[in-house]
């Protein structure tokens, strides 16, 4: 992916991002980018700033300093609506699904198809269900019946629905926060396959994970954060698991011969 990424503009690029909370410098001078059709893993120990970075990107709170580029153009992201409008979706750990609603309703929550008129407009259930079935099939998500409430789905199926929801709109970058944290072996595999299919569909996927096996399974590039600073971004094929753990914990400060080797755009 990295080689393919050369010479293209990243979908999303952050330069020199900093964020302070009172006396805590949560993030300092972070650079980060995602291209289309790639999976970037964002890794780091607790307190490294992964969540803060995701929240800045999804507009939960603004950055103190730094530039935010979308397809090379500077943009400002001050609220969740700004990032949604750009085409950035975030799937949080706690899924944010409505247990009482069926799969179709959850996939379309907040953007139901139908007649115009906002809240007073009428929903077109047939259109929504047809499209929902189509999207789930494209992503090979196995759901017995799209009209059953989310409450009766398994953990993996719920996670799949939450991820599928992020591709319902015109989203181009999807952030997945610990998507496999609560899942069993088979379900984890299902979700990771889903992540790969999102990449095949041309999306830029950012996966935040503690699980090294998962990271190496799907990621093209790995961005390591430590104590609010970026240690580096590495090509997933050229870094070992031990090295990655060393970088996350501070035992290693860089990899000899490949400092920031996969930093897109840094070295043509």
């Amino acid at each position: 992916m990295t080689t393919a990424a050369q010479g293209r503009k990243p979908l999303l690029e952050l330069q020199g991002i900093s964020k302070r909370f009172g006396a805590v410098q949560a993030l300092s001078d972070i650079s980060f980018d995602v291209f289309e059709r790639e999976v970037v893993a964002l890794v780091g120990d607790n307190g490294a700033g992964k969540s803060t970075l995701v929240k800045l990107i999804s507009g939960i709170y603004p950055a103190d300093e730094g530039t935010f580029l979308w397809e090379g153009r500077p943009v400002t992201v001050k609220s969740p609506n700004d990032s949604t409008a750009l085409g950035i979706a975030t799937v949080y750990q706690d899924l944010a699904l409505c247990d009482n609603l069926d799969v179709v309703a959850n996939l379309y929550l907040g953007r139901e198809a139908g007649t115009p008129g906002g809240p007073l407009g009428l929903m077109n259930e047939v259109e929504m269900e047809t499209r929902a079935v189509e999207v789930l099939r494209q992503l090979s998500v196995k759901i017995p019946n799209v009209r059953i409430p989310i409450a009766s789905l398994s953990g993996g199926q719920r996670q799949s629905v939450a991820v599928a929801r992020s591709v319902m709109g015109k989203n181009r970058v999807v952030f997945l926060d610990e998507p496999t944290a609560a899942l069993g072996v088979a379900q984890t595999k299902e979700v990771l396959e889903l992540v790969k299919r999102l990449r095949e569909q041309g999306l830029g996927v950012v996966i935040i994970s503690h699980n090294m096996v998962d990271v190496f399974e799907v990621a093209d590039r790995i961005c390591v954060l430590r104590l609010g600073r970026r240690v580096g971004t590495y090509d997933a094929r050229k870094v070992s698991r031990e090295q990655l753990v060393g970088l996350m914990t501070g035992a290693l400060t860089g990899i000899a011969g490949a400092p920031g080797a996969a930093e897109a755009g840094a070295e043509p």
Binding site: P80, N81, C98, L101, G110, T130, S140
Partner: protein, 407 residues
């Protein structure tokens, strides 16, 4: 669908035909998705018990017309309660607000001699204003609705007494206002109304079935849709024949059922309805999906208090007077009980406005039947309490079942 589920042995495949449908239905019951089955079973049991013990008076047309008159007012209040419960909130002012709105209407009509439409509008807007105030207070300060409406329960009672003044009772004399509950539709008009209602409850699902089939979506067996339509048609026509052989269909019943159809349409077809269910299911998820949670909550409180106001107006119209005890006593409890007995979950997000109709029929039938048997109020209260407890228990147990089958 089929191509996505072929390889997964866990996927429960739907069998064809009616047998498959019943297998599916059994599974849904086991998972806690019971729909209106228990309340319908309960209703049949109630009808049989009272019909036998009252020696045939219970299902007599005269008594059935009385039953419809008794249920329209509290039933209308109960529609609003269903909306509130869908959010996972509670409104303890539903009863007292009905009395307050009726009192305002009575003062405007009788004391101030204003024309009926103005008086009715005044009563309605009183409910709207109360709902707006409470909804604002609950969402703005994040106070539980239980506490805000508990304060309201006391406060609005004071306002009711204040509005009624020292005399305490106002007798209604305006023909339009008393006609709200006192007008009866018979013959062709009654059957035309029944046909309209049937077009909505039995006809629309058949149309939806055709639409889904044409779009290539999975459909339940046509037989089932047809059987359901036939059963509903027989019940409704049977009721109309019975009512028509006595005084007919009261206008208050037409208003009550009309409001149910309207709210059902709003909840199932409009995006607003989806928002209400989403907030009741997971308010945080709704907020993240861009739903204006506070605004929707406030609007639902406005709708509920306005519906309570109309319930109070219908009650006043039937009783031809408003007094200091208007909207008090069992009104609130019956309105909430009806919503819950009808199948609305107290935990939010589950239920339909039909719960208000089915629930009030159950509650009012029990009350009416016990009156026919001349039972003491002490016994009546205890039995009504037992029915409510049973209904809530069914909800809680099934909810647990649903969670257990969720993984």
């Amino acid at each position: 669908m089929s191509s996505t589920q072929e390889n997964d042995p866990r996927v429960i495949r739907e069998q064809a035909g009616l047998r498959g449908f019943f297998a599916d239905y059994r599974r849904r019951i086991a998972q806690g998705d019971i729909g209106q089955l228990p309340v319908i079973v309960g209703l049949v049991a109630i009808a049989v018990i009272f019909q036998v013990s009252s020696k045939g008076v219970f299902l007599d047309s005269f008594n059935l017309v009385n039953l419809t008159l008794q249920m329209a007012a509290v039933g209308t209040i109960s529609i609003g309660v269903v909306l509130i419960l869908l959010l996972g909130e509670i409104d303890l002012t539903a009863g007292i607000v009905s009395g307050l709105c009726a009192a305002v209407m009575a003062v405007l009509s009788v004391n101030m001699q204003l024309p009926a439409p103005v008086a009715l509008l005044g009563g309605t807007l009183t409910g709207t204003a109360v709902g707006l105030f409470q909804g604002f207070w609950i969402t703005r300060f994040g106070i539980p609705s239980f506490v805000v409406t508990l304060a309201g329960l006391i406060g609005w009672q004071g306002l009711l007494l204040y509005v009624l003044g020292p005399r305490g009772t106002i007798n209604l004399n305006d023909k339009t206002i008393t006609g709200l509950a006192g007008t009866f539709f018979t013959g062709a008009t009654a059957y035309a109304l029944a046909a309209l209602f049937l077009a909505y409850v039995a006809g629309a699902p058949l149309l939806a079935y055709r639409k889904r089939q044409r779009a290539g979506l999975s459909v339940p067996p046509l037989m089932f849709v047809a059987i359901r339509a036939v059963i509903v048609t027989v019940l409704v026509l049977g009721a109309v024949v019975k009512l028509d052989s006595d005084r007919g269909i009261s206008s208050s019943v037409v208003i009550f059922v009309g409001l149910i159809v309207l709210m059902d349409w709003v909840l199932r077809r409009m995006r607003f309805g989806r928002m209400v269910y989403a907030i009741g299911g997971n308010a945080e998820a709704a907020r993240r999906a861009g739903i204006p949670v506070k605004t929707v909550r406030t609007i639902v409180f406005v709708l509920a208090s306005t519906l309570a106001g109309w319930g109070g107006i219908l009650s006043a119209s039937r009783g031809l007077a408003v007094n200091q005890s208007a909207g008090q006593g069992a009104v609130l409890l019956n309105a909430i009980a009806a919503a819950v007995v009808g199948g609305t979950s107290l935990f939010g997000g589950r239920g339909t406005v039909w719960a208000a109709l089915l629930g009030i029929i159950v509650i009012q039938s029990i009350s009416n039947g016990m009156d026919l048997l001349s039972l003491q109020p002490s016994i009546k209260f205890m039995i009504t309490g037992g029915v409510l407890l049973t209904a809530v228990t069914i909800d809680a147990v099934l909810r647990r079942g649903q969670r257990a089958s969720g993984r």
